[in-house]
Homo-oligomer: 420 residues x 3
């Protein structure tokens, strides 16, 4: 592929892109260089759709949370008409942050510096002390594009964001029965992972490392078996699980859409498909991604019983979610520098569930808390190795790292995409 | 104005200066960029006069304190003739710091590395172990220009500093009755504010933010009332305060020099007036800038009684002082990077005053400690917002931010001034 | 000397080299600049031989320790044939660190990410899950050149390292009787010194600072006396010590090779001699470099009794060692940035010695622990001064800083050496 198309990239970046070997891990600079990081911010993080959080985090007008994308702070709030809004958290007067806390509730958005007051939709209502000729209508908080899909909120910092409809259709169709829009956050944990965001993403896109690192995860799932090591017995197990589910779910529309071992293929770099969702069978005996497979919270959404496998969603560059019958776990990445990624993990349950009565965090959390923290440790170790001058990108396994390879292709395509 | 004069500025900086909109907050880069910070160090901090500290901090020969301007450490000391000296804190041999502590007392300035010994005026006295032909007279500690005005010490790192006489006249005339040269430091507090020094300065140059942020300050002062919101009642109050003072002070020469509400205008960018001082009336019932307005220490200087309003002084780029009849509060800024400012606040009282007997820190400090810390929080929040790509400089209030606007003009003029 | 030869250095670096005054401390940028630091990494740290550690730290096959040179991590291990190996600690698959701990024991080198498994000599043995056509033989861990001299391990990151034989001969000949290859590590202390590695090195190359800073050290040694201040009495003392030793050691081959006061001259910049060793008499009454001069551990190596003076070795850019009859102290520098140096100090004793019975850390350590920590403080203070714009390189003492001057010449020569 001709990788040196975009003349607005610096010669150094174009040279890096040209030197990236096919089917191999990325060159050192892609994971550690300041200029590459700035290009990532411009061409990935400020161009596409970013997962922000959940509608259920801001149920009422004036509820808000903030989102920090590199050095850009964004307010996610609900306006008086019940509409979700995304606004830059930067006063139009002298640039102060407006919301200083990471979440809260306000009636209006009032800048704490000089009390410029904005409506929840961003319109400047009052600017006391300013000259009469101030054109308030030109001083609204700068809006950020925002879209929702069944309780998942996405934003785009681009002036003209890419299409969201196809993503919405895929995500909403599969997510609907999960009831995320009627969920509540049972727990949220924030991590600072000392690794480039792409290392964190790549780690999530293969289960080649699962046997060695995720003793809990592999008990529940078929992802770590691939074409090269799926035994007849495993093949039988997954077939049985799939057939059983299909028979049972025929009426309720919960089709298993990923019927093999291994991870579903994603992304589609050639067609720029940056979103996907699928329903997958769990190992026999697992009703939920919990330590022992038992249900750990009340059924969510429209599920008739616990036998629904797992719903999985992921969107580039920063979101994945595994949802069982009884709880959903969302993970969000945000870049904070070439070697630093802020990660948030949410555990969601049905909105009426009461802690202590209906669920217990000590049972709800460990499966994904352990799995996540195992991954952060892997990523930090990889970053330290990749920083070395001795690092040479190695070949990807065609059996197990097809999704990492697809990500690299997607990423390089994004860097070179024509900008509007 | 043609802002692209100075050919020794990089094209990037000249472009920034050219793009700065009139009457608006400064562009993002002025507050966050490393190259701008380096230009600030060269053209502001190493060119003009910087407030260093107070004569009363080094009363005896050999007393010293150090001043850290970016990465330059400077010793302020008093020599054997009682003269205040400023010397770079860098040994002429291999560059070691000579004074490792931020204050102290020495007989000679002895480098701890190899015992090169300098007199308090900087002359190299001994360099044991060096060859006989060493030209000691060429190896004095490098001097820094130093001037005093009624107990306030200023230094200039420039080889040919700008004129100081006019500044001296203004400051000394107004400061004389305050008796700062016969004061003592009751307390000193150091802060590291995570904001560009210009944000900290600008914050001090308007009281537009006072109503929302400084409940203590606004009780004592008229600064937060401006042409747009001074009610007839407030106008009457200040007139009464001014007239009363004028009548009373006629004999003692304590003229109120700022007779309106709002802050006195400063700086004068066009004539490069970087210093100013004025005496201002306090709100009725306030004898001192204290929490309840009551006097909190013995009268200072030549004051006949407590009814003297406040003396206020400020010099660019790094000093302001509010002095009441009984105490004086100095604030000094020092740059430590594009996003970091070291701030020191001093509380001074009459030199014979004894803590516990004549004053109590719990009464002396809160008014300005609270006000200062409120301001640092504002500045840090503004820095975080200004870092955003979404930040767009907004318009200044012509009623309330005239001094911030004047500062921006002064600053841009300094950047482009012809260098000697 | 024409210092502007090497066209692959940037004009800025070549200009710095050209401006460096002879016989003076180095220019500010050499100690504080990021680009200079990168050049140092390329032309010093990734070109010559670096001291890594001691053979006795990895006595058995599979024992390992890691070495961090700037951002390159290296594994030092012993293979199944008893041979010392140095391998980059970077998996050939996706670049993860393989050994996450700074020391340990393994059977194979197994990457924790995907279990790629390497033999102790670096050969890739297993890469489970990879395609069959994987060329394992091309995916060995990248080797680092490694050489040993009587228990001291050196590595070179260069593709074609400079000659080691001459260094080996000098070090091995003098070190042999010390028995470092049959030693054990009694204690190891790690420091992070906030100073450029060259400041730390230079500090070690003169004893001009000893009188003022090292009260313990100067009791035991003659280094701090030089041509300018060696009194007849001191001259007599060292002559007596040398003669006594020579008479006594005639049979055992422990020749005193440095017979004057002052430090032995090193390096030889003109002939690029980056290694040296010598045996030196101690002050009468000192059997060991301990606080009171008394022996603090059993005799090491082949020493017949305690009267052996001290063996001293040093190799550029990062190693020095002082060995007494009963213990040896090694110091290793590793660069971590323009203003940061990681320093490790080891105390070694005879391998059969038992703590509590044969030696006591409270007696073994203080002499060099105090001396070392005094030096780190000096270096950090010098770095702070050298950072100043007011710093001007001063003249070296021809009596006392001849080795620092020689180091500067060696360093500048290395920067400009033709690269293979």
């Amino acid at each position: 592929m001709d990788r040196t198309n975009d003349s607005s990239l610096s010669p150094r970046i174009r040279d890096l892109i040209a030197r990236q070997p096919d089917g191999h891990a990325m060159l050192r600079e892609f994971y550690s260089d300041e200029e590459v990081y700035q290009v990532d911010c411009q061409r990935i993080w400020r161009m596409g759709w970013i997962f922000a959080g959940h509608s259920c985090e801001i149920p009422k007008a004036g509820d808000y949370f903030t989102l920090e994308v590199d050095s850009d702070s964004i307010i996610l709030t609900r306006d008086g008409n019940g509409q979700t809004r995304a606004l830059y958290n930067v006063c139009r007067h002298r640039g102060s942050l407006i919301c200083d806390h990471s979440e809260g509730h306000v009636k209006k958005l009032v800048c704490p510096y000089h009390r410029w007051t904005y409506d929840l939709d961003g319109r400047l209502l009052h600017a006391p002390g300013m000259q009469e000729e101030l054109e308030k209508s030109r001083l609204s908080l700068r809006p950020v594009h925002v879209r929702e899909a069944e309780g998942l909120i996405f934003v785009s910092l681009a002036s003209e964001p890419p299409d969201f409809e196809a993503a919405h259709d895929v995500l909403a169709t599969l997510a609907k029965p999960q009831g995320l829009a009627k969920a509540k956050v049972a727990k949220m944990v924030d991590y600072l992972v000392r690794a480039n965001w792409k290392l964190v993403w790549e780690n999530n896109r293969e289960c080649y490392h699962c046997n060695a690192n995720h003793p809990q995860y592999i008990k529940a799932n078929f992802d770590h078996y691939n074409a090269d090591d799926t035994t007849p017995r495993v093949r039988e197990q997954i077939s049985a699980a799939v057939s059983r589910s299909e028979a049972k779910w025929a009426a309720s529309g919960l089709a298993v859409s990923h019927k093999q071992t291994g991870m579903t293929t994603f992304p589609d770099a050639e067609r720029n498909i940056w979103y996907s969702a699928n329903r997958t069978a769990l190992v026999d005996g697992f009703s939920s991604e919990s330590m022992d497979g038992a249900q750990v919270a009340p059924l969510m959404g429209d599920y008739p019983d616990s036998d629904v496998g797992t719903l999985r969603m992921r969107t580039l560059p920063n979101f994945w979610n595994h949802s069982s019958c009884d709880h959903a776990v969302s993970t969000r990445l945000l870049p904070q520098g070439p070697h630093l990624t802020a990660v948030r993990v949410w555990w969601l349950v049905e909105q009426g569930a009461v802690e202590g009565r209906d669920y217990d965090l000590a049972k709800l959390m460990p499966f994904w808390q352990l799995t996540s923290e195992q991954d952060w440790e892997i990523c930090e170790r990889q970053q330290r190795g990749v920083n070395s001058h001795a690092y040479v990108p190695g070949p990807y396994s065609i059996y197990k790292e097809y999704n990492v390879d697809a990500f690299v292709r997607w990423y390089l395509t994004q860097l070179q995409a024509e900008k509007p």
